[in-house]
Every structure is written in C-alpha cells, then in structure tokens.
C-alpha cells in the first residue's frame, strides 16, 4: 500500500491541493488587480508619462460631437475621455460599426509629438446592457470593409 493510500495521506493531499489553489488564487487576485494592464485611460497614460513613439493602448469613452469619419480620405478622428482627461485620436480606415459617440473605445498605436494619438487599430467596446429597440428602427449591423 503506497503512502497516499493511507487515510492520513489522502486528507493531506486534499488539504495541500486546496491550499495551493488558495495561494494561486490570492496571488492571481493581487497581481491581476495591480499589475496587468490591457489599456490605459487618458489620465493613467498621462500619469505614466507615455513618451511619443511608444506603443500604447488607450481606452475611454468617445466624446459627443467628436467622431468624424471621411470615407473619401479614410480619415478617422475622435476624442476619447475618461471623465478627467481627454486624448485626440487620429486613425485611418473605417471604424468598427459599433463605434459611436458616448460608447467605449480601445485604441492601439502611439502618441505623436503634438499629443494626439495615432491609432493603428480602433476597437469598439460595448457595455453589458442589452435592450430591445424602441421605435421601429432596428439597427442593421454593418461590418465595414477593412
């Protein structure tokens, strides 16, 4: 009979496994909450002093009245904000269909010397609220050509 087959050995295994799980869970919670960053808000980016030319990912809300897309020149402009700071974003190409004023966006790219953010990728973020459409207009979803 191996040691693990004795009654004491089994219980020790369970307790050891649970303890490892708890430790992993604790370390993961602490690390993930503080260190891991998927995107920076404009305020966080300013606080970290992201230098121009450094690859970064920003996230925020597209401010009302700032979203402009010109299909002819494929120039995309909008401003994202987090309630405290704002960043002007300049990109090219059609934005995702869900990119709208008042909704979230995540942009990847680099800061230019003039403080604007040159986006190489624009991702629309949607919130967790889902409602039936009011009125007769059903949004038809268009995925724009790349």
């Amino acid at each position: 009979m191996s040691a693990a087959n004795r009654i004491g050995g089994r219980r020790v295994l369970i307790i050891a496994a649970l303890a490892i799980a708890v430790v992993i869970g604790y370390v993961a919670t602490q690390t993930l909450q503080s260190a891991a960053v998927y995107y920076l808000t404009p305020t966080e980016a300013a606080r970290r002093g992201i230098a121009p030319g450094q690859a970064a990912r920003l996230g925020g809300q597209v401010l009302a009245g700032t979203l402009i897309y010109d299909p002819a020149s494929r120039a995309l402009r909008f401003t994202i904000g987090d309630g405290v700071s704002t960043v002007k974003v300049i990109g090219s190409g059609a934005p995702p269909g869900l990119l709208r004023e008042g909704a979230g966006a995540v942009v990847e790219g680099t800061f230019a010397a003039d403080g604007t953010f040159r986006a190489t990728q624009v991702i629309a973020k949607h919130d967790e609220v889902y409602t039936a459409p009011t009125g007769s207009a059903v949004p038809t979803h268009q995925t724009p050509a790349p």
Partner: protein, 233 residues
C-alpha cells in the same frame, strides 16, 4: 470469475430522457434565441450569439466545478466512480470552453471590430482551456488507475481557481469584454426580460445536454476501468 453484466444504474436509465429533454429544450431555446427574442438596440441581431456564448461559458464553469467536487470526493473516498465523473466533466468542460472562445470570436468581429484581442477575459478563458487540456493530457501519462486518478484529482482541485478568476477578470481590470450582465453584485440583470428568458432557456438546454453527455461518458469510463481491473486480475 469475470462479471460481464452491466448494472443498470439510475444514470443509465435516465439517459434516454436526458437525451430527449436536451433535444426538446435546445429546439425551444433556439427558437427563443433566434426568433422570439428581440434584436438589441445597439447591435441588432448580432446579439443572438450571446445566448449560446454565455450559456456555453456558464456550463464550462459548472463542468469545472464538478471536476473540483469529484476530485475532492475521489481523494476522500478513493472510489473510482468519482474519477470517472471528474474526467467526463473535464472533457465536456473543455468542449464548452472551446466553443465559448470560438463563439466569442465570431461575436467579436462585428462588435469589437477584431476577431481576437489579448484582453483579460479572453486571456483567462484561453488559459482555463489550456489548463484543462493539460489536465486531460496528464491523465494519459499513467495507466495505473490509482496513480492517475490521484494525480488528476490534485490537479482538478487546484485548477478550479481559474473559474472565479475568469469571471472576475473584467471587474478587476480595464478590459475590452463587457462587465457581467447577470452574475453581478446585486444580481440585477442588465438584459431585457425576454432576452434574459432566452438566455435562461438556452442555459437549461445546455445543462440537459451536459447531463446527457455526462451519463454517456461516465459509463464509458466505468467500462474502461472495469477492463483495466479485469486485465489486472
């Protein structure tokens, strides 16, 4: 003397009913998801992927929690049936988790604008998928029933910690994936009532499917265990 008669356990008797219930429930849930429920005010009919994507994710959570419980039960009692339950649930969980990732990508393209992004919910779910694939691979390292089951049980206890991490990742960090719409503090769903009903129907359907697949897979594992024991004897 080698016994060749299979005991007709209650699980085996339940299987045809679980199969029928799964088919019926899936039909009803699919009708609710694709026809009955309204489109979303923001994303239109694309929202209908939600019903299958979220149901799959919840069932993956459930399956891995069952692996956790069966692992503890195996270490506690050393009864092989719990090891059978653990491996069956892990396999089905890996299937549901994989489907969650694929359906998520299909949903992401028209909504986020990209098929994939290494954001917290995606990363933690992909890690969970990889870990349980690892759990299944670990089992193949040994044909000794007890050693295999004991090793797997320890891993099954440790790995479950990723389930709450996957769920809470969006609340802990800046993430692209939206916050939970149902499993949130306060438990006030942010879904239209008919959408919530469709999601619950789909979850019930997938739960029947999970139970059906479990009865089938556990029976297979029990037969394999019996064969190995006979070969030993």
């Amino acid at each position: 003397m080698i016994s060749t008669t299979a005991k007709t356990t209650s699980a085996l008797r339940a299987r045809p009913f679980l199969g029928a219930a799964s088919v019926v429930a899936l039909f009803v849930a699919l009708w609710m998801a694709l026809v009955w429920s309204p489109p979303d005010a923001v994303m239109g009919n694309v929202v209908r992927i939600l019903y299958v994507h979220v149901a799959n994710a919840w069932l993956a959570y459930l399956a891995f929690v069952v692996v956790f419980l069966a692992s503890i039960a195996y270490l506690w009692t050393k009864r092989p049936v719990f090891d059978a339950i653990a491996v069956a649930s892990a396999e089905i969980g890996v299937l549901f988790c994989g489907l969650t990732l694929v359906l998520g990508a299909i949903w992401a393209r028209p909504t986020w604008g990209v098929w994939w992004s290494w954001e917290p919910r995606v990363i933690t779910t992909a890690v969970m998928f990889a870990m349980y694939v690892g759990y299944l691979l670990l089992r193949n390292l040994s044909n000794d029933l007890e050693r295999r089951a004991t090793r797997a049980a320890v891993l099954g206890i440790v790995l479950v910690v990723d389930v709450p991490i996957v769920h809470l990742s969006v609340t802990w960090m800046n993430a692209l994936h939206q916050l939970p719409s149902v499993l949130r503090p306060g438990l006030d769903p942010t879904l239209d009532p008919s959408m919530l009903a469709s999601l619950i129907a789909m979850t019930i359907a997938f739960t029947f499917l999970y139970a059906y697949l479990m009865t089938a897979r556990v029976a297979i594992e029990r037969r394999r265990q019996a064969r190995i024991l006979e070969a030993r004897a």
